[in-house]
């Protein structure tokens, strides 16, 4: 199936999801509001922390805000798009995946299409505000290259999280039940990714470079953004996420081959 056709199909799937959610308007409103508030309290925590401090390891309030916004925005976007992978064990258990295999289009497209949850966009409101604050208050000298790097960070982060969800979903093929091991990584990353990773010390920095490459979308491009390194190559680091995504896709394909349908 051509890419154009796939995208148009994805949009149609997403539109059906939006329409389904709009059948329950109150629930939708509360979800947006609730998620927005969660993100807002996290922002407050940073705000209050910097009431007593001027900087952490050389990072100012504005720098941390920038980091926080990037990770939050990526995480929210990835949840919006990749929610299907997050709830994949349910899709397998209900037999919905059988049905997906009976349709003449990619199962991945159907998985992310059928679980497009617009209600998850709440934190996007918060993170857009904090991003604006961060852009204004950080030490970054804004020009075309730095702006482009920021965009890459958000995009790369989104893909990285989606990759992790995909990896988690692949495990369902072998275990059927949900696996929380990947949640520890994704939610963990969202939590500690609020601060530049080197504030946690070298060990964590290494783990986040070689095991799960968070630093590609956060620490290294940030060094370039803040002018700590003059090498513009660091700004292009988020592109490396594509390799990680490819690995996740490989595991996914192996999982699909191992698929054993369940029930009736």
């Amino acid at each position: 199936m051509s890419l154009r056709k796939s995208i148009s199909l994805y949009i149609r799937y997403a539109a059906v999801c939006v329409r389904s959610i709009m059948e329950y308007k109150l629930s939708f409103g509360l979800m947006i509001f609730g998620r927005c508030m969660i993100a807002f309290t996290e922002f407050l925590a940073i705000r209050f922390l910097f009431d007593g401090l001027t900087e952490i390891k050389g990072y100012t309030y504005g720098d941390v805000l920038l980091c926080f916004s990037v990770i939050h925005m990526s995480f929210t976007l990835s949840e919006l798009i990749g929610n299907g992978f997050k709830t994949f064990s349910g899709i397998v258990k209900s037999g919905e995946f059988d049905r997906m295999l009976l349709r003449p289009c990619s199962p991945i497209l159907q998985i992310i299409g059928t679980r497009f949850e617009i209600g998850r966009t709440g934190p996007l409101i918060t993170s857009t505000i904090t991003l604006c604050l961060g852009i204004r208050e950080s030490q970054v000298h804004w020009n075309f290259l730095t702006a482009f790097t920021l965009l890459l960070m958000i995009l790369g982060g989104t893909l990285l999280f989606i990759g992790l969800y995909m990896l988690g979903a692949s495990f369902c093929f072998f275990t059927i039940e949900d696996t929380s091991i990947l949640n520890a990584l994704t939610y963990g990353a969202k939590e500690h990714g609020k601060y530049p990773i080197d504030v946690y010390g070298r060990g964590v920095l290494r783990f986040c470079t070689f095991v799960i490459p968070y630093t590609l979308v956060q620490y290294y491009p940030l060094q370039f953004l803040l002018g700590r390194s003059t090498s513009w190559v660091l700004g292009l680091c988020p592109v490396g996420v594509v390799v990680f995504l490819a690995i996740c896709y490989g595991v996914w394909c192996a999982g699909v081959r191992n698929y054993k349908s369940c029930g009736s």
């Binding site: 199936m1 056709k5 148009s8 199909l9 149609r12 799937y13 059906v16 329409r19 389904s20 059948e23 209900s94 037999g95 919905e96 059988d98 049905r99 295999l101 009976l102 349709r103 003449p104 289009c105 081959r257 698929y259 054993k260 349908s261 009736s264």
Partner: protein
């Protein structure tokens, strides 16, 4: 059109005894049992045939359907549908088949039925003219006009099943798999679905493979019956063959002590098999008999 040769499929099933202690034990050491869902299954089905695929629960009916529709890969054996290997040419294959699972819905729960149909039209890339023509035909035959604008979640089971059948035929498949399509339906809906399937077969030469536990379905629809038990094909023939086989077995069982049998008993048995309810009894006897053999 459909050939299955020596297809085997087995599953690994985790086993443990009841009780919390056993749960803890199984956490460390799990015992598995291999269940042979299909053992050397072979059959051929020609174009335009209507085949009833019957067998007790857990006999391997759904596994067969899943292999034929490309969801599952068999452990060994070959399977070809219209020259395609279902699980290898999945995308091309599923364009040509329609599948109805009586126990699962393929319609989107919260949106009107017609919207689900529109989405299916996009998924299968059905052209506008073909879609409109088919939709009109299906609406008329299945009396859908009043329920098309209702969200799926508000339909009754009978209404929903009529929509399910329509949904699986929008792309004009050449083969239709029906997995227990009349389960839980009332008399009127059952008759409507059956009549519709027969009409589809007559007018479009759609090959129909139907699994069911409802013997009246079989009587009404199937020209040919394949019976499976414990993963093996037990019987392949006409409904008449099934009745005689079951009848003979049943009589043989009832008259073991009387060599030659009682001719009156045979006659009684044969008349009894004319109605569906008694066919259920006969089938139960047949399953029991054949499984021992």
């Amino acid at each position: 059109m459909i050939t299955m040769e020596h297809v085997c499929k087995s599953y690994k099933v985790a086993k443990r005894k009841a009780g919390l202690g056993e749960v803890c034990k199984s956490f460390f050491r799990r015992e598995h049992e291999v269940v042979h869902a299909l053992k050397d299954v072979s059959f051929t089905i020609g174009e335009g045939e209507m085949v009833g695929y019957i067998g007790p629960n857990g006999a391997g009916k759904s596994s067969t359907i899943k292999i034929l529709s490309g969801i599952l890969t068999p452990d060994s054996g070959t399977c070809r549908v219209d020259g395609r290997i279902p699980w290898k040419n999945r995308t091309e294959h599923v364009r040509q088949i329609g599948v109805v699972f009586g126990q699962r819905s393929q319609l989107w729960w919260d949106i009107p039925v017609i919207d689900s149909f529109e989405l299916l039209k996009e998924i299968y890339s059905v052209s506008k003219e073909n879609y409109n023509r088919k939709l009109e035909e299906l609406t008329e035959l299945l009396q859908l006009s009043e329920i098309l604008k209702t969200p799926t979640r508000q339909l009754s089971l009978g209404q929903r099943m009529r929509c399910e059948v329509a949904a699986s035929l929008l792309h004009e498949p050449r083969i239709l798999f029906l997995d227990e399509p009349t389960i839980g339906l009332d008399a009127v809906s059952k008759l409507a679905v059956r009549d519709f399937i027969k009409k589809m077969n007559r007018e479009h030469k759609t090959t129909v493979i139907l699994t069911t536990h409802d013997m009246q379905d079989i009587e009404a629809i199937a020209e040919r019956v394949i019976s499976i038990g414990k993963g093996q094909i037990l019987l392949d023939g006409s409904l008449q063959d099934l009745q005689t086989a079951a009848g003979v077995f049943d009589v043989a069982e009832g008259s073991e002590n009387v060599p030659g049998g009682d001719s009156k008993a045979i006659e009684k048995e044969n008349t009894a098999t004319q109605s569906g309810i008694n066919l259920d009894h006969v089938m139960a006897a047949l399953y029991k008999k054949l499984d021992i053999m």
